[in-house]
Amino acid sequence: MKMRTLGCMTLVLLTMLFTFPAASTLAAESPIVLGCPLSTAFLYGWDAERGFILAVEEINAAGGVNVGGKKRPFKVETIDTRDLEPGVPVSEALLAVEKLILDKKADFILGGPVRSEAALAAMPLLSKHKKVSILTTGSLSPKYHAMVAENYDKFKYCFRIHGEAKNLVGEMMANFSSLKEKYGFNNLFIIAQDVSHARGAAEIIKDVAGKNGWNVTGLEIFPTGATDFSMALLKAKDTKTEIINIWMDMPESAILLKQWYDMKVPALPFGSTLAAAEQPGFWKATDGKGEYTLCNVVNAGNAPSDATEWTMKFYDAYTKRWNVEPEGLGASSSYMAAYVLKDAIERAGTIDSDAVVAALEKTDLMGVYGRIRFDPKSHQVIPANDPKEGAVGSILQWQAGKRVVVFPKSIAKGEILLPPWMKK
């Protein structure tokens, strides 16, 4: 009897001995470090971080990343770049990126820097360290992917997985044309923040709108931190403007929208990167004064829609994990970046930068906001209005306390409404 008990115990011990290492393989394998330089005190920073964490938790729970037959977990290392804060020099963001690479031993850089100026300045640094980077939030400057296309060998490590300013301009213009057709609108006023992507986009839209027969009644560029927009709004009113196109990610844009409402300016506030209006809490924060405000959350998934089968799954998972709906530009794209990187690493079978670059260029994945593919020359995600064709954007309008997707038509949940003081 004693011998049998001893035999059983030995068997159990041996089983444990052989099975335990197998079960803990994931923990034993060194993690793949995702360095995330983000301006974490701002919407475009913290929602991106939440997107990464959610994706990484899901990926790790499902076994991690298969790197040449070995399962390795992802690990997120975030550093606050503060690059969205007024007065913080670009060099601070570069130091953050360098710290992620040298101190935190980041294998990949995902997320930012968030401000275009900082993202552009970080490109040579990424090349120097041969670090594959996927921009997922904030930086909309077309110059980013233009630089990759112009000097591929140097900047081939840089990718961007969300829409860029030219894209956004195209989406804006498509909506302006619809409004022109439907309501006979013809006067456009542009208000932009004095930062690279907003200035650039405002100039582009001024040019494009002029060529498309719009009467551009004004272009006002406000410094970051400006707190009074009355004169610009009065100009818009005096010039019988029908659409105010806003390019601002600063918190003070809420003042602009409240002033618009209080002054009953008879023009539709049509924002692009209008961070204040992107957040689900905007309605409560403005006591409903933000109704009818439109803004572009750049990628589907940042507002509720049925772009793909994955869209609402992500939307619900994010809401469950963070007790808030996906909040704006950066949430769905950051989430997707982790999955896209996982897919590329698994296809490459290694985390070697050049191999991963080659794999990323061949990415073809149906994601949260449509088919994800990168232009092989510029490494910009390929946009589309149909999620089956490419990455789709999302323009939403605040209607009765809800964020209603109104563009593109393929995923729209409603139509653009006009405020009562605009109806003739």
């Binding site: 005190a41 701002f42 919407l43 913290w46 804060e85 007024p86 007065g87 004095d194 006002e220 560029i221 406000f222 410094p223 931190g225 400006a226 707190t227 009074d228 009355s230 004169m231 610009a232 009065l234 009113k237 918190p251 003070e252 844009s253 809420a254 003042i255 409240k258 002033q259 209080d262 002054m263 009953k264 300016v265 961070a275 204040a276 957040q279 809490g281 905007f282 409560k284 924060a285 403005t286 006591d287």
Partner: protein
């Protein structure tokens, strides 16, 4: 007309930003670089009192003003008192306190654009065909009343006279039995309360964000330097000069030059008349 209306509103807003800073410096020669942080803090206190603790709006405002005044007094009692008279140290210490407060708020999760206070009176009206919301009219009204009350306080009340005595000649005031530390604490509390008043008046126009603490400090300093450090009446006049200059700049030059005005005003004042419009500091040096 629009320039006149919105120029006045902008000027009164600048005056409200600056009055607390000017008062503290005018009375106790303390450059309170925590002024902007106190402004933001009071906004979050009012928000928390209303949304977290469920107080009604007037009580939330009162709580914000009282607590901010106490914080201001504590900053002097526990930090600045030890370095009193060493202006550079006072600047560094008060700015360090400001950073600690602002970063502390951010660390505690006060970030984002969804923290707001409601307007005292919702809605808007039309003045000479120009739309103006009631909250901005409240700002102007309270600003005018505040300046009047401050003048009465410093000219007709015992504490006000003691504060002026301190401002004019600290040694003589000490000889007359006025405790300079007590007066400095009173000045800090009053200045902080003024920052809180500015916050509860102006924050309903937009939202409460940590970063505005730095902007408010810069604007307050610009107004005080142009008006003359130590002169709160000078600060009011400077607020009108800078306020109208900003609005005129937006109209005739371009909105992106708006923020430059305040900084340009500091540079020009320091080059042409370092004592400012009504300042007494350095005036003797300038004459020499």
């Amino acid at each position: 007309m629009d320039i006149l209306i919105y120029g006045t509103i902008n000027s009164v807003a600048l005056a409200l930003y600056a009055l607390g800073f000017a008062l503290v410096y005018g009375i106790s020669r303390l450059p309170n670089f925590a002024h902007g942080a106190l402004y933001v803090t009071s906004g979050f206190i009012a928000w928390s009192a209303r949304n977290t603790f469920g107080l009604n709006y007037p009580l939330s405002i009162l709580a914000a003003m009282v607590i901010t005044a106490l914080i201001g007094a504590a900053i002097y009692r526990f930090f600045l008192i030890r370095i009193r008279g060493m202006e550079i140290s006072e600047i560094i210490a008060s700015y360090a306190v400001a950073l600690a407060i602002l970063e502390g708020l951010r660390w505690k999760g006060f970030k984002g654009m969804t923290y707001t206070l409601p307007a005292f009176i919702p809605g808007s009206t039309s003045i000479a065909g120009i739309s103006v919301d009631y909250q901005r009219l409240v700002v102007v009204g309270v600003g005018v009343v505040l300046v009047t009350l401050l003048w009465l306080f410093t000219h007709y009340t015992r504490i006000g006279l003691a504060l002026r005595g301190m401002a004019q000649d600290e040694r003589a005031a000490l000889m007359l039995g006025i405790d300079s530390d007590v007066m400095a604490i009173v000045a800090m509390a009053l200045g902080s309360m003024l920052a809180a008043l500015a916050a509860v008046l102006l924050l309903p126009l937009g939202n409460i964000v940590v970063e505005s603490g730095y902007n408010v400090l810069i604007l307050a300093i610009a107004v005080c330097i142009v008006g003359g450090l130590g002169s709160w009446m000078g600060a009011v006049l400077a607020a009108f000069i800078i306020g109208f200059a900003q609005i005129l700049t937006v109209v005739y030059l371009g909105s992106h030059f708006q923020m430059v005005i305040a900084l340009l005003a500091i540079i020009l004042t320091l080059i042409l008349k370092p004592s400012g419009l009504f300042g007494q500091q350095k005036e003797l040096e300038e004459r020499v």
